[in-house]
Each structure stands twice: as structure tokens, then as C-alpha cells.
């Protein structure tokens, strides 16, 4: 295998898809998708949400059967009857949301579903452990085979997923959005592992919608758009702009904020002082957090998911009680913890779960737009709602925020992600807030909608609203924020001016280390 390991120097293909088409009632998820993955290659599948990446990976792993087209593994045509058949054919998948059982050990997770070499009645974890340690060494992925999954960091859990695939002797590894949950140093370590796999003659299919990472990790990139494979290009020499154009089908401009920020002398609209709160399981999730946001300023909160960001925004929105600390809105102390109090004080909240927490999916756009104002005139008079006012208000906001929908009566669940977010922002901004708290505002949106939402956030700041932007997308935080606070294990480790922030320092902070060269996390 070693002489065929250099990508491009061989003709053998690990996987070939020819004209693969998959239809679901009413939708064509994949149409005429064609690409080939060479042996020893890292091949990226790049596309927006809904471009058909997931369907394609489900076909490759035997979960779906294509309606048309052919699938070749090692140049032999193959039809997968089940996921097991795909595993047997040497294809392994690491899902974005890990398929691991938290209460099981690393070894138990890895051997689950495999046939033991000997036909013994009882489990033989000893020899499995030995093999796992050996594999871990071969691909430079240290992990304790006896640790329980819940004791591991996300990066370590991902290693277990990869080891699970390698343990089954897979020649092709499919990874779905693997870096979404990792800190930058963890992501770098992952890239090294993938490279080492490729150099040892295995192939990697890397699914992502992030242009930058795809261009730096992959050998070649196949771009998917609207379920079709648009092009396969060499990663070397492809520019972000050209890839974005292939993905979206038109030119894309991205929003970058530079040197605006709070005016000198602007009032502090949000002041959080030594705030602490408990998480869902009753353990401390926020410890002694202090933050200030001035009018017209965007404060970005960077951090790997699960380090207290969710609890922070929930406390600010009055959805989670605090155990200690104070919150001041425009100099006025927020005393009570219920959801209505912060609204009245001028806190607008765009939650991460847009359609579930943010909007009532079965209500119309118009009804959703007035959800926070219906108690007072002019929306209502005494106990009655005023439909004509509601309708004209909906028209006004839909025009202003460019919400594209058949009518104001359309239920919000029928809208695309971008339009859902616009409705939510329109509602929140219509209350003339002092503070806008947004959580992962562009997660899952396509490139065009991302730019619109970014512009809306900048507009809000320009109007003098203090914006608290929580996002796992570090690029987004870097592009929009005036200052960046990094959260780790419920604490704010540092608050840096955006002009002085560099991605490697923030990356280290996200992993809990402060600028100590080479220190792990």
C-alpha cells in the first residue's frame, strides 16, 4: 500500500460515485452526483446546508440506497443493502454528532457491533484494548481505552470515533463537519491525524461548509450545490472567493467590520458583575462572570460550545436564575429573574434555537412579530388585539428586514433559516432595545443569509444598541466584534480588543490555556 500512498501519483480510486441520484417525496436530494476519491487522498465535499452533503454521506454509508447511479469501491461496483454492508466494504463514518455511548468505556464503544476474532462466549476486552492502544499509537491519537466516554473532552471523543472506524479496518473515512466542535489546536491535531491516515494509504472524505478549512485540509474539493456536483477542483490554488461562487452560484460579498465600535463617552448599556449560575444538571456553569457592553458596541463571546455561553445568555434573558452577581441594564439593576422583566428593561434576545425557543413555529409571521408587544397599545386595546395594526406592523417590519415569504400569514415553520432569523431580529429590534443578546445567529444559514444577518447586527450597533454576540464560529466573532471575551469552563478568561486579537491566542484561550507555548488543554 505504501507505494500508492501519494495522492495524485496513482490511478486507483478508493471511492467513485457516478451519476448518483436520490429522490425523496417532493425533493431531489442528490442529482447526478459524480466524483472520485483517490487512494491516499483527503477529499472534501463542500456545500451549503441543503446542498445534499448529508444525503450523499448516507448513501455512501449504506443508510440510503440511490435511485440511480453507481457506487464503486476500489473500482468495483457495489450496492449496499445496509449500513453493515458499507462497514464490511471498508467505509467508516464519523458523524458530526458523535455516535458514542457516554456510559460505556472507550473500548466498549469501539468493539460494539464487531465480531471477536475468537468465538468466545464472554467479552474479551483485554485483547481489544491492546489493539486500540496499538492503533492509537500508529495514528498519533493518544486515548485511554478504559476511560468512560463522558470523562473525555470533545476532541478525545472524536479520536474515539476515528479509532472506531480504524478498528474496523476501514480504508475510507468519512468525516461530517469534524471541526465544528473543536478548538483550533484540537482541529490542528485532527488535521495531522487525517494527513497521517492519508499517507498510510487510507482515504478521507471530509464534509464541510467552511471554505477556509476545506482549502487548507483537502487535496481536492468537490463542490455540491442544490444536490448536484458542480465541480471538482484542486485545493491547491483555489481561492476562497472562487469556491464561494461555486457553492452559492453567484458572487458573494462578506461583511467585515473595522474600527467602528462604541463612540467615546458612550454609556454602558449592559454591565454584568461577578455573575454565577448553575447548569441544567445543578452544577456550576457560570462562575464570577463580569462583562460590560457600551452603546453601539459589539462584544463577541468566543468559546467551544458548552463552556457557559448558553447559561450566560439564558440568565440575561431571564430564563435561568442566577446564584449570585448583578446585571445592570443602562444603569438600572435587573432585580427579578423572569422572562418578562428583561424585555421590559430593554433586553432583546435571539436564541440559538431560533424556531423552538425564539419563535412559535405554527403561528404566522405577523403573530410572531408582535409576540413581545401585544400587551400594550398600539397592538392591543384593553383585552383585544387590533388586527389592522398587527397587519400593517407586519408589513412594515417585513419590508424593513427583507423577510421573504408568501404572506404575513405564513406560519414561521415554513420559512428558510435565513428568513426565520430575519423575523426574529425584526421582532427583537422592533421593541427598541438597549441591549441585543444573540446566540449563534448564523449557525446553519447559507452564505447569502449569513451576510444579511451580519449586516443587521451591524445596523443594530450603528443605532446605538449594545450587542452581545455569542458564537462558536470564531471567524464570525473576529469579523464582527469590537471586543472579544473568551469563555472557558464558565469563566471569562480574557477580554481582548478586536484590533489586538489574533486567532492563535484566542484558540489557546478557548482550550483554557493562556499563551503558554505548546501547552495542552
Amino acid at each position: 500500500m505504501s507505494e500508492t500512498s501519494v495522492a495524485g501519483a496513482v490511478t486507483a480510486n478508493a471511492v467513485t460515485a457516478l451519476g448518483v441520484t436520490k429522490r425523496f417525496p417532493g425533493v431531489v436530494a442528490n442529482e447526478d452526483v459524480t466524483f472520485e476519491v483517490r487512494v491516499g487522498e483527503v477529499h472534501a465535499l463542500l456545500g451549503e446546508n441543503g446542498a445534499g452533503k448529508t444525503t450523499l454521506s448516507n448513501i455512501l454509508t449504506g443508510l440510503y440506497r440511490p435511485d440511480e447511479g453507481h457506487l464503486l469501491i476500489a473500482d468495483r461496483e457495489i450496492i449496499f443493502e445496509s449500513p453493515k454492508a458499507a462497514i464490511d466494504a471498508g467505509i467508516g463514518m464519523v458523524h458530526q454528532h458523535f455516535r458514542l455511548i457516554p456510559t460505556f468505556t472507550v473500548t466498549e464503544n469501539i468493539i460494539l457491533g464487531t465480531q471477536p476474532p475468537s468465538r468466545r462466549l464472554l467479552l474479551d476486552t483485554k485483547s481489544a484494548e491492546a489493539r486500540i492502544v496499538e492503533l492509537a499509537k500508529q495514528f498519533a491519537m493518544p486515548v485511554d481505552p478504559r476511560a468512560k466516554i463522558w470523562q473525555l473532552s470533545v476532541g478525545e471523543q472524536q479520536r474515539v470515533e476515528i479509532l472506531k472506524v480504524l478498528y474496523r479496518d476501514a480504508q475510507v473515512l468519512i468525516m461530517d463537519e469534524p471541526t465544528a466542535v473543536l478548538t483550533p489546536p484540537e482541529a490542528e491535531s485532527l488535521v495531522r491525524t487525517l494527513r497521517s491516515m492519508a499517507s498510510q494509504g487510507r482515504s478521507v472524505i471530509f464534509i464541510s461548509h467552511k471554505l477556509g478549512e476545506v482549502a487548507s485540509i483537502a487535496d481536492r474539493i468537490t463542490v455540491l450545490r442544490d444536490g448536484r456536483s458542480v465541480a471538482t477542483v484542486e485545493a491547491w490554488g483555489s481561492s476562497r472567493e472562487s469556491l464561494a461562487e461555486l457553492m452559492v452560484g453567484r458572487e458573494v460579498t462578506s461583511v467585515i467590520r473595522q474600527g467602528i465600535g462604541a463612540l467615546p463617552g458612550a454609556a454602558t448599556v449592559l454591565s454584568v458583575d461577578s455573575l454565577s449560575a448553575l447548569g441544567d444538571r445543578g452544577r456550576p456553569a457560570l462562575t464570577d462572570v463580569s462583562l460590560q457592553v457600551k452603546a453601539g458596541e459589539i462584544l463577541g463571546i468566543a468559546g467551544v460550545a458548552g463552556n457557559g455561553q448558553r447559561e450566560l445568555v439564558e440568565v440575561l434573558a431571564g430564563l435561568r436564575p442566577r446564584t449570585s452577581g448583578s446585571i445592570d441594564i443602562d444603569g438600572e439593576a435587573m432585580e427579578r429573574t423572569d422572562a418578562r422583566h428583561p424585555i421590559r428593561m430593554g433586553v432583546a434576545y435571539v436564541p440559538q434555537d431560533r424556531l423552538g425557543t425564539g419563535l412559535a413555529p405554527d403561528l404566522s409571521i405577523a403573530e410572531n412579530l408582535i409576540l413581545k408587544r401585544y400587551r400594550r397599545p398600539p397592538i392591543s386595546r384593553a383585552p383585544f388585539l387590533r388586527p389592522s395594526v398587527i397587519a400593517s406592523e407586519a408589513d412594515r417590519l417585513m419590508t424593513q428586514f427583507d423577510v421573504r415569504a408568501p404572506s404575513a400569514e405564513t406560519p414561521t415553520r415554513r420559512l428558510s433559516g435565513g428568513n426565520v432569523q430575519k423575523v426574529l431580529l425584526a421582532r427583537e429590534m422592533s421593541g427598541a432595545p438597549k441591549v441585543l443578546v444573540v446566540s449563534s445567529p448564523t449557525q446553519g444559514l447559507d452564505v447569502g443569509a449569513v451576510a444579511t444577518v451580519h449586516q443587521l447586527l451591524l445596523d443594530a450597533a450603528a443605532k446605538g444598541v449594545g450587542v452581545l454576540l455569542v458564537s462558536e464560529d470564531l471567524d464570525e466573532v473576529m469579523a464582527l466584534s469590537d471586543r472579544i471575551a473568551v469563555m472557558y469552563e464558565g469563566k471569562v478568561l480574557a477580554c481582548i480588543d478586536a484590533s489586538e486579537a489574533d486567532i492563535s491566542r484566542i484558540g489557546m484561550l478557548m482550550g483554557g490555556a493562556d499563551l503558554v507555548e505548546g501547552q495542552g488543554f
Binding site: 425523496f24 436530494a29 448529508t54 444525503t55 443508510l63 445496509s82 449500513p83 453493515k84 462497514i87 463514518m93 458523524h95 455516535r99 458514542l100 455511548i101 457516554p102 456510559t103 460505556f104 466498549e108 464503544n109 468493539i111 460494539l112 457491533g113 464487531t114 471477536p116 462466549l121 464472554l122 467479552l123 472506531k164 444538571r281 445543578g282
Partner: protein, 319 residues
């Protein structure tokens, strides 16, 4: 019989705890696969009526009639479990509703009583029954002898089954797959474990175990037929599963504790201890409520070891 109250109470605890052991062991298997089956009470009654029917109608030596009766008990109860499995696994009906429906369908006012009437059961104690036997010849040991080794064959069999089930769940490949299916069917499915098949299998075997519990009542404890003769022991078995943290060994301890409480009315009253009958009768049920309240109150419920996917139907995600 030894006269010592201590020995009498403990021996009775094991005797009356045996059906609980079978029923809870079966429920452990079903719940470990992620299917909660509130039809235990109904399945025990189905098992009881099936066993009683064979023992009443078939003539022959006990060595043939009784094994046959137990097998029919298991089949009857497994048939009930099959209904639950089909509804919850294939049709993805809410497991709580389906289980309750099964208990109502098979219970006191349902099929078990109907069949008993149809077959004219319960006229007299059945001829062939599981009596106490000194299987190992250890019945003469001091204290332990009369407590442990003066039991019925069904009790000895339950010990074997508890040990085998423990090994199966925690030490074998199939047990690992079973636990995976109950913890995360998506994960199990993604590595090629047949989720639905595993759930069907364990719900059916769990039902068969509940059938043996029924046999304990109609072939040993009573031993005849009475409508609703289980008096809610199936519900106690459900509580025992939680009480035992879904582990057969801990469940066994709990079963004998509840068996002891259930038997107090016989043992204490026979010896003239003045405690109101109703109080004694209510003890196991009160304890069940206490256990359930304590368990559901603790924030650490997840840490107790409840299978994470318990009660959740599994369907491969479509798009």
C-alpha cells in the same frame, strides 16, 4: 418447619419474592433494550392462567405436567408481550399507553379472567403443584437450610436465571449490544446492531419471564386460579427494576425485601401479632410509592443507570 420467627419471615420473603424476581428480571431485559413495559401485571396474569389451565386439564406425573405448564405460562405471557412489542417497536405507539393497555386488556377484567371462566378454572386447588423440596440436600443446615434450601424448584431456577442474566448483560457481546440499544439506538444502528430485532427479542423474553412469575402464583403460591390473583405484584416488579438500578443482583435483594413485606400478613398474623390487616396489606404498595418518589426526586436519576433511550421509539432518521 422451624419455629423461629426470623427464619419464618426470611423463608417467606424468598418464597413470596420469587415471582417478583422473575417479573422484574424480565422487565430489566426489556428496559435495558429501551422498552418500558407497564404490562407486567397483565402478563403475569396471562402466565398464571395459562399454567393453571395446563395443570388442571392435563393428567400425568408432575415431572411432565409442571414443566409443560411453565412453558405454556411463558408462551401466554410472551404473546401479551408480542402485542406490546408490535405496538411500540413497529408502530411506535407511546410505550406507557401501550403497556397500560396491555395490563387492562390482559388483567382482572380482561382476557385472563375470561379464559379462566371459559376453562372453568379455580374450582379446587390443582393436583400437580410446585412444592417445597430440598434439592441440594442442604435443608438441614442451621438457619440457612430452612431459609434458602427449603424452597420450590421455581426459586432455585430463579437464582440460576439471575446469575445467567447478569453474565449475559454485563459480560457478553450480546449484552453489550443490548445495553447499547437501550442507551443509544442510533449508535447501535450505526455500527450494524439490529435495533428492532434486539428490542423485540428482549421484550418477548422479558414477557416469558413474567409468565414464569404467573406460574409461581397459580402453580405454587395459591395454587389455583383466582381472578386478579397477583394483587398488583406486577407494579411492584416495575418499581423493583428501578430499585435495583436495572441490575439483576440488586433487584434480587429488593425482590426479597418486598416479598418479605408481602408475606408479613401471613407470617405475623399466624403467630398472633396484633397489627391491623389493612396496614400489613398496604405495606408493599406504600414501599413501592416511596421507592418511586425517592428515585424520581433525586437529581441523580440519570446516574442511577436508567437506559438513556428508555421509553423512546427508534426510527432511522429520514432526511
Amino acid at each position: 418447619m422451624n419455629d423461629n420467627l426470623f427464619i419464618v419471615v426470611f423463608a417467606a420473603a424468598i418464597y413470596y419474592g420469587t415471582p417478583l424476581v422473575y417479573a422484574a428480571l424480565g422487565e430489566i431485559l426489556a428496559e435495558r433494550s429501551g422498552v418500558i413495559n407497564l404490562g407486567v401485571e397483565g402478563m403475569i396474569l396471562l402466565g398464571a392462567v395459562g399454567g393453571c389451565w395446563v395443570a388442571t386439564t392435563v393428567d400425568g406425573p408432575a415431572g411432565i405436567v409442571l414443566p409443560l405448564a411453565v412453558i405454556v405460562s411463558m408462551l401466554f405471557a410472551a404473546a401479551g408481550a408480542l402485542i406490546h412489542a408490535f405496538l411500540t417497536i413497529t408502530l411506535r405507539v407511546n410505550q406507557i399507553i401501550s403497556g397500560l393497555a396491555l395490563t387492562i386488556f390482559a388483567g382482572v377484567a380482561g382476557v385472563s379472567s375470561y379464559l379462566a371462566g371459559l376453562w372453568d378454572l379455580g374450582r379446587a386447588p390443582i393436583a400437580n403443584q410446585f412444592g417445597r423440596m430440598d434439592l441440594f440436600g442442604w435443608g438441614d443446615l442451621p438457619v440457612l437450610g430452612p431459609i434458602l434450601f427449603n424452597q420450590t424448584l421455581l426459586t432455585y431456577l430463579s437464582w440460576l436465571l439471575v446469575v445467567l442474566t447478569s453474565i449475559y448483560i454485563f459480560r457478553t457481546r450480546w449484552g453489550l449490544q443490548l445495553r447499547a440499544v437501550g442507551e443509544s439506538p442510533q449508535t447501535a444502528d450505526s455500527v450494524g446492531v439490529a435495533v428492532q430485532r434486539s428490542r423485540y427479542l428482549h421484550v418477548l423474553v422479558g414477557g416469558a419471564f413474567a409468565g414464569i412469575a404467573g406460574a409461581c402464583f397459580s402453580l405454587s403460591i395459591l395454587p389455583t386460579w383466582q381472578n386478579g390473583m397477583t394483587l398488583g405484584q406486577g407494579w411492584i416488579a416495575l418499581a423493583l427494576v428501578i430499585f435495583g438500578f436495572w441490575r439483576p443482583d440488586l433487584m434480587l435483594v429488593g425482590a426479597y425485601l418486598f416479598g418479605g413485606l408481602s408475606s408479613l400478613r401471613y407470617t405475623l398474623q399466624a403467630r398472633g401479632v396484633e397489627i391491623p390487616q389493612l396496614f400489613l396489606d398496604s405495606l408493599p404498595y406504600v414501599m413501592t410509592i416511596v421507592v418511586l418518589v425517592v428515585v424520581s426526586n433525586t437529581a441523580a436519576r440519570r446516574q442511577l443507570g436508567a437506559p438513556a433511550a428508555l421509553g423512546k421509539p427508534y426510527e432511522r432518521e429520514e432526511r
